[in-house]
C-alpha cells in the first residue's frame, strides 16, 4: 500500500502545483528510502516461518 501512497503524493503535488508553489524537501526522499526498505522487508518475509522454527536457517 505504501507505493500507492507514494503515487498519491506525487499526483497531489502535481495537482497542487497549479495552485501554489511546491518544492521537494528531504522528507520525500526519505519516503522513497522507506518504501524501498519496506518493499525489501515484505519481499523477504515469509509468514509461514513463524510456525516452523526448525526450517529457519
Amino acid at each position: 500500500m505504501a507505493e500507492v501512497y507514494l503515487v498519491a503524493v506525487l499526483v497531489s503535488m502535481i495537482k497542487l502545483k497549479s495552485i501554489s508553489l511546491m518544492t521537494v524537501d528531504i522528507g520525500l526522499y526519505l519516503f522513497f528510502l522507506f518504501l524501498f526498505i519496506f518493499l525489501l522487508t515484505v519481499r523477504f518475509f515469509n509468514p509461514h516461518d513463524v510456525w516452523h522454527k526448525e526450517l529457519i536457517k
Partner: protein, 195 residues
C-alpha cells in the same frame, strides 16, 4: 491440492496438513476445505460494489473553494483536468487506478463467479491467473482516496483557498472495500472442483 477425498485439509497459515475440520492443531486457525458460502458472499459484495460505483462516479470527489467560490471535480473531471493540462501520463495513471481497475475488478469477479459455478473447465487456469491479478491491482484504486486526503490536508487557507472532500469519497472507498472483500471471500479452489 486434492485433499477433499482423503479428509486432510491444508492450513493456509502454518502450511501444514491437518486431519481436523474445525481448527488447526498447530496455529489455531479456522480451517475448511472450501471457504464457506464463498460464491454467495462474493456475489453480494460484487453487487454492492457495482451499486456504489454509480454515485462514486457521478458525485464530486473533491471541491476546491477559492475565495468562497466552490469548484467541484468528479473523478472523471480530475482525469480530464490532467488531460487538458497536457499531463497525459498522470491522466492515464489516475484513469487506470480510479476507473479502469474498479470496473475491471467487478467484471472479473462476475466472470470468476460463473467459472466457479461451472467448475473445472478449459478456462480454469486463465481464471486463476485473473484472480491473482485482481487481488494484486486492487490496492491501486486507493490512489484517488489518498490524493483527496493529502490535498485536503495541504490546502486549508480559510477563505483564500481550501479543499474539501466531496460526496464521492465514501461511495468510492466503499467500492474498493467491497471489491476487496469479494476477492477475499472468493475461493480459487472452486475453479478446479469437478462438478
Amino acid at each position: 491440492m486434492r485433499t477433499k477425498e482423503n479428509n486432510q485439509i491444508f492450513c493456509d497459515v502454518c502450511a501444514t496438513l491437518q486431519s481436523t475440520r474445525k481448527k488447526c492443531k498447530i496455529c489455531g486457525n479456522r480451517i475448511y476445505a472450501r471457504k464457506p458460502y464463498s460464491l454467495l458472499k462474493t456475489l453480494l459484495y460484487t453487487l454492492s460494489a457495482f451499486i456504489m460505483l454509480i454515485p462514486a462516479n457521478l458525485l464530486d470527489m473533491m471541491s476546491s473553494i477559492k475565495l468562497t467560490v466552490e469548484y467541484p471535480q468528479t473523478i472523471l473531471g480530475g482525469i480530464m483536468w490532467f488531460y487538458e493540462e497536457g499531463d497525459y501520463f498522470l491522466a492515464f495513471i489516475v484513469f487506470f487506478a480510479s476507473i479502469f481497475i474498479p470496473i475491471f475488478k467487478i467484471l472479473a469477479l462476475i466472470w470468476l463467479l460463473i467459472m466457479a459455478k461451472i467448475g473445472k473447465n478449459r478456462f480454469s487456469y486463465f481464471s486463476t491467473k485473473l484472480y491473482k491479478i485482481i487481488e494484486f491491482i486492487g490496492k491501486y484504486s486507493m490512489l484517488d482516496i489518498f490524493v483527496v486526503t493529502i490535498m485536503t490536508g495541504f490546502m486549508q487557507f480559510g477563505n483564500l483557498i481550501h479543499i474539501e472532500a466531496g460526496g464521492a469519497v465514501i461511495p468510492f472507498a466503499l467500492v474498493i472495500i467491497f471489491t476487496m472483500l469479494a476477492t477475499q471471500n472468493f475461493d480459487t479452489k472452486l475453479l478446479w472442483d469437478e462438478k
